[in-house]
Symmetry: C2
Subunit: 491 residues, 2 copies
């Protein structure tokens, strides 16, 4: 049976990806510096091998035949997801894949020193190469998929999402978000917030983090917590490797980082065992993944009811102080301050950073903006959204992110889609289970059971739109996100 | 050029083995229990892939053609080592490989519970299957290589070694070792040895271990120290993963374990960079590998001059006590006591454990002994060599080792060959550089430079016999080992 042959083939691919995930985690957490060259070569060989696995000549026939085989609904969706992986891996000509990979590596590598040097002129030619090749790739994908160029890239990170939808969503946000930011700043102007006084020893922060992860249902029998420069959630479903970094002077933010990554981790750990080794058993999309981390961090983690549970743990692990009182924690964790850097942004200003990037990358890929004009456009949009100028400051402007350096255009919207999905889910959940004020003040099992039932267990068996529909009967909408922000920040 | 094609092919294999080595290390040190099933599957897929890499149909032609290409001496040896890997992987029919692997897994798995239960009767049928298949494999290898059955297995672990040589070596040992053991026990009877009084916190033991590793030249930029149930030295040359285990009541033995593994590690870290990704760039053999760990542990680590350097470090990290005085350490680390368990044996009685196993496994494979008679033979040889009876005590007798459960016949001699090589090297080194009493009392760089020059840098470019010859002008001989034991234990 061709469907079975496909399953076996993709399970083997999954095993190879498992080795890559663990060795990648090791590279970021455990590996001594001198091991890097050999590791990079080994992982490079593995990447080629995985690609070859997807280019096997038998696949085309198997897909053709499997479609006429008697398959369950789950198998049909599994077949579709296998075909999507195959199509994404084989759609572009090999020369273009190689050229993109090369240009991306070169640009990313140079960026690591050009950014601190604020050297836009040095970056531009490398970036132009990346953009040119990304346009070419987008063009090839667009032709094959019958989508616009930019949508064909978006499809890689959030299948089914279109720029038309994003335009509508972001136009709406643009109507009310800048005003909201001003209002919140006005309201918070006279608020007094105590900053926790460090230093906080790494070991104590780690003990606190582990206890909070346990409270959030992380399964330590199938995962662990370690340290890396850039926190991430890696590994495989049965062995989730979550990382964080500790700042001895800022335990509060590190803790929120752990809560964020635990959201990713619980999604991974709760994917359905039956499909775990197949594409259909993987997380739905980048946006849905981010919705789980942001549900944990923003909806749950910064909610006053949860902070009342967190407060005694902070006192216990880090030493008692007034800054850890629930009311102060609530103020501390909801401070709004427009800034230059996306990764440091608060919940309210974050979407502005994403909208700006979306507009620029969409226009770059569609050919409506040239790379050399990016800084000007960046400055203009930063002024419009956050009232900040980045003129001449490339380092804290358009050179701040890694995403574009290797051509990952289409990724940025996932962050704000995640925030919007999370707000929708939180609203739906509260309608069904009761208000967070109650729900988050005791045992959190009902919250996780709800997510398990509506999101986690479905992996990629449903589309993102179907996930939202069956959780709430509602389509994608920014209204719950707006209500959430207004209630939390102006209520 | 076919030789180049072979190099590329084997380098790719090396990269895959790299991923396996790191994921295997992770499995033993970092992985949560729940991740085991997925990991076993992933590593199983990798093993199949590595095997396929060696069964590539083009290899036969490439080997044929490469032999008539203009190659340097190093390339010729490299070609020979690639061919050896290829031959070892392809010599046996696939059905036999699979059957052995299956029977081995089954027997090893059962052994884990049968050993504690002292259940020889339960073990026997599984073991008979393993022996039968190992005989078949040995037969096929013997035919192809023109060797005796047992020698064809020996060739896997110590290329070039023959049972005729081992018989002579062990017959010689058998002449003087049992008497020596009795004499040493007699001499030590009235010796008073202080046992270090614990407990010793794991963190302190680790700090001590790290300092001793640094003193022994371990390169922490290309390796690290962690904890596993069964200590080993894994990873790859540029990223050596050394493990140990800590017993809070016995810091002294854990430290010797680290010194032992550091010997393996320095060999790995010092293999020639030029050949690192090819078979010829790997360690020469199991016996030569063990010679390095035993040189570090026995020749160097337990020498009074080195113990004088170790003493202040023990006092510093574990707290001062009389047991850490150099003289007491020297007595503590040279206690001789015949016992049932090989892995707990001291330097003097250890060869008896190996000789016994060698005689049994050689006869098993050659068809001169049947599995059901192993316990009887074991008991008889234990009485002969160490004056101990294992009648009815299978757990501490023939069921104690993992090696035979998966059919690794031919491995055991490596341990004693390593001890004999190490003694030869130590004698040669002292003839060239001066006595250990001086050499080991200061900076150890000359010792390591000598090993680098005579052993490490040659990887598999020379045979074991050539390594010994060029280090000393001497062939394999047990005389230095005897002189070493007599001097240290009776001198």
């Amino acid at each position: 049976m061709s469907y079975s042959a496909l399953e076996q083939h993709f399970e083997q691919l999954h095993h190879l990806q498992h080795l890559g995930a663990i060795c990648g985690w090791d590279q970021a957490t455990m590996m001594p510096a001198g091991g890097n060259e050999a590791r990079a070569e080994a992982l490079g060989t593995l990447a080629v091998l995985c690609h070859q696995q997807l280019q096997d000549e038998r696949l085309s026939d198997w897909f053709g035949e499997a479609k006429s085989e008697a398959l369950s609904a789950g198998q049909q969706q599994s077949l579709a997801e296998m075909e999507r992986s195959w199509r994404d891996a084989t759609l572009l000509p090999q020369d273009l894949v190689r050229a993109r990979s090369l240009a991306g590596s070169r640009c990313e590598h140079a960026w690591r020193s050009l950014r601190p040097a604020n050297d836009w002129a040095g970056f531009l030619p490398l970036f132009e190469e990346v953009v040119a090749l990304s346009r070419e790739a987008a063009g090839a994908r667009a032709d094959a998929l019958g989508l616009s160029r930019y949508d064909s890239l978006l499809e890689l990170y959030e299948p089914g999402m279109r720029s038309q939808t994003l335009d509508a969503l972001f136009n709406d946000l643009n109507q009310w978000l800048p005003g909201l930011i001003t209002q919140v700043q006005e309201k918070q102007r006279n608020e007094s917030v105590l900053q926790p006084a460090g230093p906080f020893a790494t070991e104590q922060q780690k003990a606190l983090g582990l206890e909070v992860m346990a409270k959030l249902g992380f399964d330590f029998n199938r995962g662990r917590l370690d340290v890396s420069v850039h926190p991430f959630c890696g590994g495989v479903s049965d062995d989730v490797r979550l990382t964080t970094r500790y700042d001895e002077n800022d335990a509060a933010q590190a803790l929120m980082g752990i809560i964020h990554e635990t959201g990713h981790a619980r999604y991974e750990q709760s994917l359905p065992a039956q499909w775990r080794k197949l594409p259909v058993g993987q997380a739905r999309s980048m946006g849905v993944h981010e919705s789980q981390s942001l549900f944990f961090e923003m909806q749950l983690g910064r909610h006053p009811a949860f902070l009342r549970q967190l407060s005694p743990l902070l006192n216990q692990h880090l030493g008692e102080q007034a800054a850890f009182a629930p009311d102060n924690l609530a103020r501390l964790y909801t401070r709004v301050q427009p800034g230059f850097i996306r990764v440091d942004a608060d919940e309210v200003t974050y979407p502005a950073h994403v909208m700006l990037r979306y507009q620029i990358e969409r226009d770059l890929i569609e050919g409506n903006l040239e790379p050399r004009h990016v800084p000007e456009r960046w400055d203009q949009l930063m002024q419009q959204y956050l009232g900040l100028s980045t003129k001449g400051d490339y380092k804290n402007g358009c050179l701040q992110d890694i995403h574009w350096t290797d051509g990952s255009f289409g990724y940025f919207p996932s962050y704000t889609l995640g925030a919007i999905y999370a707000a929708q889910l939180a609203e739906d959940m509260q309608q069904q289970l009761g208000r967070f004020e109650q729900l988050l003040s005791g045992d959190l099992a009902p919250v996780f059971n709800w997510l398990q039932q509506h999101i986690w267990q479905h992996a990629s068996l449903l589309s993102t739109e179907e996930l939202l529909q069956q959780a709430s009967g509602q389509s994608l909408s920014s209204a719950p996100f707006r209500r959430h922000l207004e209630q939390r920040y102006l209520g």
